[in-house]
């Protein structure tokens, strides 16, 4: 990372840190704001490369797709909770757990993290291991396992937010 990209990442990091400072302090006098700005800039100079490991990309449409994705994830979280609650409270414990291994085309670290965490939050699946682009997933039912290897609905949705990978 060099030149203008480095400066942009420092400014964005400092902005996020300063917003967090204002939120936690909730004081608006000169002393608190100045101290917050100084701390934010020092921390941003030292550690901006932790937050942005690659140049900042993506525009309005990425944000729009991400918002849409968050809405879908919200519904899926509800369904996941209800599904697990039903299976736990059912007297016969209707589970059929299996471990599934499958490949994905994702190469970027952030996309892999988003995909793994979404899989953990959606009904019936948790991510066990990620090595390269191969995922090992534990599915609570055989339907959830079949959806991962054949339907691939989560994978298509993640592809829609990050189309370049």
């Amino acid at each position: 990372m060099k030149g203008i990209e480095r400066i942009i990442s420092i400014i964005v990091t400092a902005g996020i840190l300063f917003g967090f400072w204002i939120l936690l302090s909730a004081h608006f006098d000169t002393f608190h704001l100045a101290a917050g700005a100084a701390c934010a800039i020092i921390v941003a100079l030292l550690s901006h490369d932790l937050l942005f490991t690659r140049p900042v990309r993506g525009g309005f449409f990425t944000l729009l797709h991400f918002t849409h994705y968050c809405g879908w994830l919200f519904i899926e979280i509800w369904l996941a909770g209800l599904d697990v609650a039903y299976r736990v409270l059912h007297p016969d414990l209707p589970i059929d757990p299996q471990v599934v291994t499958f490949d994905t085309p994702f190469t970027d670290d952030i996309v892999r993290t988003v995909f793994a965490n979404s899989m953990t939050l959606t009904p019936g699946t948790i991510t066990i291991d990620v090595s390269g682009s191969t995922y090992t997933v534990h599915a609570l039912t055989s339907e959830a396992a079949r959806d991962l290897t054949e339907g691939r609905s989560i994978e298509k949705r993640v592809h829609r937010i990050f189309p370049e990978t």
């Binding site: 589970i95 757990p97 953990t120 939050l121 066990i128 291991d129």
Partner: protein, 105 residues
């Protein structure tokens, strides 16, 4: 007690409590570590989010409400990651995954 805000707050908190109770019951009833991770990772996160959402409605538009919202977002990033870390450790330590018909641990 019967104004609409109180009813919404009470409904959200009671729904959250239901999921918070189901999580530990699953932790005890389910047969192995991987299925227990389902109960702790999903039910508990949903229950927490609902109770905190109830407190946000109770609070209204203040700095504390934004802090509670931040806490929900943190929990939703942390909980899957922590579950993933534990399950991965168990996978590497070769914990046995339960199959239907086997004895429960």
């Amino acid at each position: 007690m019967f104004d609409p805000v109180s009813i919404v707050v009470a409904a959200l908190i009671i729904m959250g409590l239901f999921f918070m109770i189901v999580g530990p019951i699953g932790l005890i009833r389910l047969p192995d570590l991987f299925t227990r991770a389902h109960a702790s990772g999903k039910c508990d996160t949903l229950g927490q989010a609902l109770i905190l959402l109830g407190l946000i409605v109770y609070e209204g538009f203040t700095f504390d409400a934004v802090k509670l919202l931040l806490l929900i977002i943190f929990l939703y990033i942390m909980s899957p990651t922590a579950t993933h870390a534990i399950v991965r450790a168990a996978h590497i330590l070769k914990y046995h995954a339960w199959k239907p018909g086997e004895e429960r641990e």
